[in-house]
Symmetry: C2
Subunit: 296 residues, 2 copies
């Protein structure tokens, strides 16, 4: 099985699990419109890279796929909330996401705000649910780690920096900091979550966080390269928009060749971080190569 | 000490605690604008009724005020997020809140969306933090209960019903259901949180949930009466807006006299629910009377 096939397999499992989660969660009570819009946002494809990372990281400690899936699904809910809110007219004002209309376009702005709020809340509800793990200490750890990754010192902070940066010239260090918060924090969490679920020791947890940090940077850099070399059809979303908006990217600051060289280094560093796990981590090493080389 | 003085005392303690929470949370890293806007939203007054209920409910089980305060503060963060998002132009489009400009007016819409997202996330971070309670099972229970109260089967669901209802004629039962979700769920959680913090048994927890349910209805009904008899200066926000928007309220559906009679019944029922606690619950009985009789 190639890595792409393995990723697709997990993406299918994740989509199936998320569908069931919404079926249970939305049974009966809710106004149909918000529930429909949650399905639109959550079940509209996506590579499910973050759930893959939760599952593959947890597997290092012998955790079965189905036992890591609830936490993986919670992370995908949280990631999807961030996309829905970032796409809003007051934020990045994007009409297209994963090749389909964004939530505020397909529905309306108020619904998109509520869908984001609901998915963010559902992420924490899922992590705190006894089905996610029998040990409440592990559930509380997952909630705390995800909240830190998602809050003002993580994703929301990165988005705020991004908004503040419009029309300004950032340095490469400033861009790195922004991206480490806006994108990197959830990648770090994905790998940390595997360690938490697996009851890993401090050293193993730190190794996975290091891997997740490098991987997050690699993912963002590959994204910037795609945006730069832009093919909207392949990417399934509007491309070359960063340059249009005057947003600084590492590709613009370093040049394409240096950016590509940096990407190579990040993939090597990510692999190096996993050395304590030996061959058990070959899937994760492969994931770093895949993320760096992706075309969509 | 009168009840108003007691409520003011807890409101001061809560404001002080929230200020410290933001100081620690926003130290260093963040773009100043979102942090400032979080302070504007969270520290701009407010009666702090929900934190009061957490603290007074926990006190029934011998929990010290300072030990209930982190959970009380988390609930106030969550309540404040809901105000910030509900005030947005795409939602209720309100310019005034607690006598001051709303966040999107004082700052901008993107900042208001992020402030809401950040406060929602901070609520869960706070509940999952070991400082909130040494027992992770209690922390996980608090997270789960708050997420259920805040999600599509609680507050977000109620707001969605509210949006769906604009321009429609709701029945009294439909209004009750909407309000039980939109406003009632957090009141219920406030009282349930006291029970969780206090390690209460099922029966005591159920009694507090019943009390919180009645209290939430009473609070909303008093709010509708205030809106109907409207004095913007006293209320510190725009009033008589519900009627203007064609939103159904129980006051419009039942008439003022029947609404006032119902309010009396709710206060009596709330007191009755607390009978298992005897005199220990006199503060909470007083709180129900206060909420029903408030002028702001």
């Amino acid at each position: 099985m190639t890595f792409q096939q393995e990723l697709d397999r997990i993406a299918d499992l994740t989509g199936h699990h998320l569908g069931g989660l919404l079926d249970r969660h939305l049974a009966g009570e809710d106004p149909a419109r918000v529930g429909e819009a949650m399905r639109h946002a959550l079940l509209g494809g996506g590579k499910r890279v973050r759930p893959y990372l939760v599952i593959a990281s947890a597997k290092l400690f012998g955790v079965a796929e189905e036992d890591a899936m609830p936490a993986a699904a919670a992370l995908e809910c949280l990631h999807t909330y961030s996309l829905v809110h970032d796409d809003l007219p007051a934020m990045d004002d994007d009409d297209l996401r994963r090749g389909r209309p964004t939530v505020h376009v397909a529905y309306d702005e108020a619904t998109a705000i509520l869908v984001g709020d609901a998915l963010l809340t559902l992420a924490f509800e899922t992590l705190a649910d006894p089905n996610t793990h029998p040990d409440p200490a592990i559930r509380a750890s997952l909630v705390l780690a995800l909240a830190k990754a998602a809050g003002t010192n993580g994703m929301v902070g990165g988005q705020a920096l991004d908004l503040a940066a419009e029309g300004k010239q950032l340095s490469a260090d400033e861009v790195l900091k922004l991206q480490a918060m806006k994108t990197g924090a959830l990648f770090r969490f994905a790998c940390e979550a595997g360690a938490i679920l697996g009851g890993a020791g401090e050293e193993q947890r730190a190794a996975l966080i290091r891997y997740g940090t490098d991987l997050g940077q690699a993912f963002q850099l590959a994204d910037d390269l795609l945006d730069h070399e832009g093919d909207a059809e392949a990417a399934g979303k509007a491309v070359a928009k960063d340059a249009e908006r005057g947003k600084a990217t590492l590709v613009a600051l370093l040049g394409v060749d240096a950016a590509k060289a940096r990407l190579e280094t990040l993939v090597a560093d990510a692999g190096e971080a996993l050395s304590p796990f030996g061959d058990d981590a070959s899937n994760l090493v492969e994931a770093a190569r895949f993320v760096a080389g992706r075309k969509t």
